[in-house]
Symmetry: D2
Subunit: 150 residues, 4 copies
Amino acid sequence: MNELDKPSELSEFPVIVSLPVLWGDQDSFGHVNNVVHIRWFESGRVAYMAQAGFPIVRPEAGGYGPILASITCHYRRQLSFPDTVLVGSRVTRFGRTSMTVEHAVYSQSLAALAADGQSIVVMFDYAAGKSIPVPAEVRAAIERLENKSY
Amino acid sequence: MNELDKPSELSEFPVIVSLPVLWGDQDSFGHVNNVVHIRWFESGRVAYMAQAGFPIVRPEAGGYGPILASITCHYRRQLSFPDTVLVGSRVTRFGRTSMTVEHAVYSQSLAALAADGQSIVVMFDYAAGKSIPVPAEVRAAIERLENKSY
Amino acid sequence: MNELDKPSELSEFPVIVSLPVLWGDQDSFGHVNNVVHIRWFESGRVAYMAQAGFPIVRPEAGGYGPILASITCHYRRQLSFPDTVLVGSRVTRFGRTSMTVEHAVYSQSLAALAADGQSIVVMFDYAAGKSIPVPAEVRAAIERLENKSY
Amino acid sequence: MNELDKPSELSEFPVIVSLPVLWGDQDSFGHVNNVVHIRWFESGRVAYMAQAGFPIVRPEAGGYGPILASITCHYRRQLSFPDTVLVGSRVTRFGRTSMTVEHAVYSQSLAALAADGQSIVVMFDYAAGKSIPVPAEVRAAIERLENKSY
């Protein structure tokens, strides 16, 4: 996304994906259902990893990859169709085997943040079936993307 | 659910719903996708409110109802098809306008908890478009269901 | 969508929506799951009706609206993330109380049609709870949009 | 499912799966959204293949498996939460490389068929990336399950 088009609410987020709200995303209360935000967060994480240089590969390919340990979402405003959301993602913290991804969902119709939250992602060795320390190459790539050191 | 069939991991949860894992719940990693747990939590909340005597009604009916303010899920074990999960719900805390619902997802195939988390639910006056103090009747009904005072 | 950007495979479709394939749209076979195409068709129908001047309203608003009587989808090519699909919609036929909507899904990654199909939509009087003849205003609006008479 | 509990509307279907309608299956019209039926059909197909002795395996395992060529669903009655549906599946026809699966969705709340339809499933050699004649072992297993010859 062009920096000029990025709303100030997302200025700290290096990776933004633009996603349409679908009519079918709404539940019987007439608003976007709470599971949809979690799907948006996922799309944001996947885009983040791809932009950092680590596209998501299927476990069959071997090697390591991120798996989700926990997720939190704060629902700030009710959304409805039609709308387009901008989903921002950034890494705010590294643990030994994990990293924290912050998410923000900006509604273009409301011109406001509609939700935010965070994911804890663990680096996982698919063949060994266990978590591993965050590889130095992943951390370095994220530091380049975020333009800072953790 | 018959108390005799309830796994000990769910013994503190007064409301349990049994839900099948669907083949289509799995994502390209071959495990149940993280959004599915959030849908399970929702099904648990809806069942809880119904069992307390407050079935979910659509906002058009007027009156008040619960809306979701935030959700957290901890993914403990990877699930896959086929399986059946038991989703436990209980209310652990009341705020002035909110209540905290704890969730636990038990996998029958794994005979273990697969996920847990919590929702913060706010009581909302649909006509007025704003949150309201938890009505005394709701609190009383939940105290009966939980067999305790908050 | 700008006519110049419209692929020739969609040249007969007056309404096109562009939708991103999400990572989570993929099932455990590693391809976009078959239910996702049905959601895309729905998004196409909703956009079509809006562009014809009949945005989808909730039944509570009274009046009439379209309900889905049947759907068919032919899966032509397997899709995967990342990709963007263009979903074309057009009305090809009117019955007394129904109309036939044709759908086509074009994959930008494959530069080819990935799926096509049709929906039969029935005009429904929400208050009366029964189907009604297609209102003359709906038919006229669609004839304008399609630039033809049926 | 016990034959005694099987509704007469499903008497011709050798494989039945029982699935709960979830609150979140409903869309903003307050009824079960049309994509949900397609997910139910999928769950029926998967159960059918498993009961015939061919559980769904991921393509990485090599060999062959069924892929969906087309699907049709007729929506007969509007469904809503709470309800439980019984989804019947049967194979009605073999082509050289394909078979036709018929689906029926019975609503326990309505005590009536709510939807029916069919899938065309093609046998696919994952390694070769092309369809293959329906293997004799698959056809024999289905003839045993259906208790007839095609």
